[in-house]
């Protein structure tokens, strides 16, 4: 019995000693004021930030010219602050901002990682309303036919003639600008059975041709006036003038004949000699803006064309 109680005493004594030691260690280790620990740096054993953040972004304009989206391309960062330069800020990953008006704004992105390292990147955004460039308006040369067939002849014509039409004095009584000339007629262009296409097609069929350089992919209006003396319905399809805008320039009239025009208009109202009717037709230019005017007639009578204009559609 005595040995048991001795054993108990020894065991409890040891336990007590161990407890006191643990308490001692716990107290000293948790007290930063203890001199023995004062030489350890707070940063000791922590790793350097080897991958600091690098801020960068890319701006893209949206359908609305005032609104931009900003694609965040930063690396090694977790938090972002956008400063759009117009007083607005954001903390989202990617940015989107509608600027108040046209102008140059410096957009700044500050990227921060969780160790507090930061990096900023700035880029200027130039907000400007996209301008539609004014369409070229070279005008038709000799569109009123005052100078006869000059500037209207095809460059060459395989198997045909480069005579454009018959110069005539029986043109539109109106001036080129649409005002009345006061006289009953001005110079014009004339086709007859000997210069007609269609059933009367021959090597002397005449075509008026003029090259123009217009703005590409732009809407223009083709305008002209015509008069047919009588339509006796003795030519298939009736007497008519065909005015086309050709897709490109053609050195040889024969190539122009077989090409597919951008637009074709037909004037077939026979109102009598001197009674001119105005035709207007909208067309879009091609990718190069190089087009040509192409006029010919199908008639066994007298047919007149005058005041040919091409101008931008507004």
């Amino acid at each position: 019995m005595k040995t048991i109680s001795n054993l108990k005493k020894r065991v409890s004594g040891m336990c007590l000693g161990a407890l006191a030691l643990i308490a001692c260690i716990a107290v000293t280790s948790c007290d930063p004021t203890i001199d023995a620990l004062s030489y350890d740096l707070a940063e000791a054993n922590s790793k350097e930030d080897l991958k600091p953040p690098v801020a960068s972004f890319k701006a893209t304009v949206t359908a609305d010219y005032l609104t931009y989206t900003f694609a965040n391309t930063s690396s090694s960062a977790t938090d972002y602050v956008w400063n759009y330069g117009d007083g607005k800020t954001a903390t989202s990953l990617d940015g989107e901002n509608t600027f108040p008006a046209e102008g140059t704004y410096t957009v700044t992105l500050t990227a921060t990682d969780k160790l507090g390292k930061t990096n900023t990147y700035s880029s200027e955004v130039i907000v400007i309303e996209p301008e539609v460039p004014p369409a070229l308006n070279p005008g038709v040369i000799n569109g009123n036919f005052d100078d006869g067939t000059s500037n209207w002849k095809p460059n060459s014509f395989s198997g045909g003639t480069t005579n454009a039409f018959n110069a005539s004095s029986d043109g539109d009584p109106n001036n080129y600008d649409g005002t009345p000339s006061g006289a009953s007629k001005t110079p014009g262009a004339k086709w007859t059975s000997s210069t007609s296409a269609g059933p009367l097609l021959s090597s002397s069929t005449r075509y008026a041709y003029q090259e123009m350089k217009l703005s590409e992919n732009t809407n223009y209006i083709l305008e002209y006036s015509y008069a047919i003396k009588t339509d006796v319905a003795d030519i298939a399809g009736g007497d008519r003038v065909i005015v086309e805008i050709l897709d490109g320039w053609f050195n040889d009239g024969a190539d122009a004949v077989v090409s597919t025009p951008l637009v074709q208009t037909i004037g077939n109202e026979a109102n009598g000699k001197g009674n001119f009717k105005v035709v207007k037709q909208v067309f879009s230019t091609n990718a190069t803006g190089e087009i040509s005017i192409w006029i010919y007639a199908i008639t066994n009578d007298e047919l007149y064309v005058d005041n040919v204009k091409v101008y931008p559609a507004i």
Binding site: T62, A63, T73, E96, P130, N217
Partner: protein, 492 residues
Amino acid sequence: MKYLKYIAIILIGNVFVSCSDFLEPVPGSSITTDNYYTTAEELETGLIGVYAAIKGINSNDKDENHGVQWEFYVTEMRSDNTSTKSPDSEDASDAGQLESLNVLPTNNFVNNYYTSFFQVISRANVILANLDVVEDSAKAKAIEGEAKFLRAYAYFNLVRLFGDLPLIDRIIAPSETEIQFTRVGTNSIYELIVADLETAVSGLNNTYTTRASKPAAQALLAKVYLTMATPGSYLKAQLLCEEIINSTKYSLKSNFHDVFYTERNSEIIFAIGYNSGVQDNSQIFSAEWMNAVGNTSGVNYVTTNAVAAIDTYGGSRISDSYRPDPLTLFGGTIRYQVTKYFPDGASGGSDGQTFTGLPQLAGNDWIVLRYADVLLMRAEAILAGAIETSNGNAIDSYMQVRVRAGFNAVTDRPSKLTKEALLIERRVEFAFENQRMFDLIRFGAAQSVLSVFADANGFNFASTDLLLPIPQNEINLSRSSSTLMTQNPGYN
């Protein structure tokens, strides 16, 4: 001993004659790329092998290249058009990562596409290196054009998906690690693409639909120019489109259905050809898009967002774009399936799962370029990055596609074609044809559209999601070399 000098002469003589090729013959029992190509015909068999790399292997083995068969995963499923059958932002599977725009560099579909299309590039390079065996110069030009078309097609897809890439324009040895892992800027990649396609345009003719042709090269080049969006590139794109239009070789099918279910029809400019019922020559994507018919329970299902867009703007294209999954009509949430690529045209009966043949061995061709695309590209080129245009030619081309879809040529004709309307038209016309993601990026609308879509579905969109990660596999391979491959932003 008296014969010694004769023996010596014979032995010395042997030294000279023994240096013949007798010991180094080309083994007749094996074919290698070094010895195989000796004639134009043999080179053409190699050329067909390039197409085989695009077609991919019809299997469910993740280690095999599936080429264009798995393209929908990395394009359409990342867009607002499709998802898995039951979209879930918590789905961390490879397919789930793509639908929720939370892609990891270890994603297998990403790796598969990357390796597949670099295989296309590598095989095309082999053809180009062996062109000297072709004696007929016109034939050599055609083969060169075809190989370069295929290399450009592969690079164009890759550069749009991954950004900067290794530029591999010749056969490289495994030891050439620097060229394998150095990513060059997209500008240099586009330079190669444009140069290759220009060669293809001049060398090819109009013979094929499921192989490269001149109009296919022109149409692809037009799309490249639209994507580059540099000054002057819109004009080049327009001229290319108009050359195809003016050739009058192609026309729109009057019935939208026939575009997909009459192979090599008048609208198809370039398609990847498959044959039904042949394991080596068939495709499985048609089955994958059904309900548990392929190897998955159903992927590339149509999002409600796309259903709404098609209902509003699709006109007569609705039934040939999507349908409610018949199995989901009995209860629960209705899901929507793509109807453009039913396996061999069979819709799967009343439950959408019952097929007579093997739907997993479908023969539907994969359409890469079709005439409607050329028409809408022309409108896009005329628009030239502007917000709207009143140009008649642009509106004409746009309306041609819309009129086929049942819209009225007069009453539905807008006075101005806006960029937004064109993007919507492209979405409903080319839905599930793997164009949507590229269109969104090209139109500069990806960030605004996808962030709204992601918010509505509980996904997490960041602008860096517009590029896929470089496969981790490639980066790991580069670690053993002196050139460490870089990762795209947002994937570190």
